[in-house]
Amino acid sequence: MGVGIEVTNLNAWYGANHTLQDINLPIPANHATALIGPSGCGKSTFVRCLNRMHETNPIAKVTGSVRIGEIDIYADASPVEVRRRVGMVFQRPNPFPTMSIYDNVASGLKLNGYSNRRALDEIVERSLKHAALWDEVKDDLRKKSGASLSGGQQQRMCIARALAVDPEVLLMDEPASALDPVSTSKIEDLIFQLKSQYTIVIVTHNMQQAARVAEKTGFFLNGRMVEFDSTHKIFTNPSDKRTEDYITGRFG
């Protein structure tokens, strides 16, 4: 089951560059929340703060608190523990090229020392079914490399890989931006189905996509969150002038 996320006074830096400033945001459990905004506005940095990937860059710094469920991820848990509870799907599909489809999906569990074969078989099948990829790959799970799939299939495999470790939150950083329209619509359908079980945060450049998949939308600009509200309200009647300018295409 998904859990809610409470972000309080979050600030982030890359070196001297203050990329996120005083972000406060409640992300509801078991819903999809979209983050929109022009390039470089900080939305990717923001999701990377939610699973402590931001700090893998040696010059990066974070202050403030992020509470996921009962846990303050910067105070009560190690980055490794946080990332097991908060899965991530990246902008470009990033399968492990030396691994089969099966091993790619099982990798999160296997690399953490989980080795019960029968349980793994079940988890891999369930995750691939969840990611709507099972029927396309079930015949050569172990024969084919994950890198041999098409871009859209790779991305769904990466989603299956993230789901296999049974996270509570799924972060998606422009998951469809490198894909064709058919694959994009498959990913969107998937988000729609997954949000009953996971809390989903999706960064997107595509405003129609935000409108289609998310109940809540946040608008980022220059490292600040300008407005956060129901997707319907953001797209029909935003309270901030800048949000309106952005969604009507006046800039960005």
């Binding site: 990332r83 990246f90 470009r92 990033n94 492990f96 990798s107 024969k143």
Partner: protein, 288 residues
Amino acid sequence: MAQRKNMRGALRTITDHVATGLAILATVLVVAPLVAIFGYLIYKGASSLNLAFFTEIPKPEGEVGGGMANAIVGSAVLLGVASLLGIPIGIGGGIYLAEFGRGTRLANAIRFTADVLNGVPSIVMGIAIYSLIVFQQKHFSAFSGGVALGIMMIPTVTRTTEEMLLMVPHSIREAALGLGVPNWRSVLSITLKTASPGVITGCMLAFARVAGETAPLLFTALGNQFWSVDLNQPIAALPLQIYIYAISPYDDQHRLAWAGALVLIALIVLAVSLVRYVAGRGILKGAS
């Protein structure tokens, strides 16, 4: 207008042919010495190859016949010791340079040291090991020879491992970290594994290079006319045996030296191909 276009097209075709021709010529020039050396070795050495060469030890001075069985086994022992020392240290160093020490002073110092070590003449390596091990122990030994070769392997292995690891895309490391895999595990099971074909090539390069080294063995392993696999005793090695026979006054020993050189090259090719085959078996359909 049309004519000018045609002329330009013709010029382009000619340039294309010339460039292709030059590339083919360069390829031939690269391969030619290898083929020539191999051909000459077969021509000079193949006639002296017989079962005795692989099963017998050298005959006493002046007698005809005998083989290099002890030198073949000796070389295998020396290279085994060298690989056990050089490959783990070399790969470990490469991992540190690429994954943990990036940009630190220590890493720059290690990188610089490795490059200098790579340029140290092998005879100097021999003298160094002679004074560090042989002189202290007061006897020549297979162990000291293996150490000399192993140290010579380290810089090549380290630098290729580092370069191959750096070629692994950042997105793959992020994928592993994003799954909650600890960094050390990600480095070993994902980054190193992804880079493994290149790392193995580096190890094989280092292996092949030291397999033919003679100078560092002259005053460490020393050579041995008899059977020995004892790490504490002087041991025979193919390059040493070739050297001894090549400078001897007897024709029969000259022929054996040629045969030894042929066998040495053939064994290196065999070892490298075998490792490549074994390492390549696990590769899946469509893996890049």
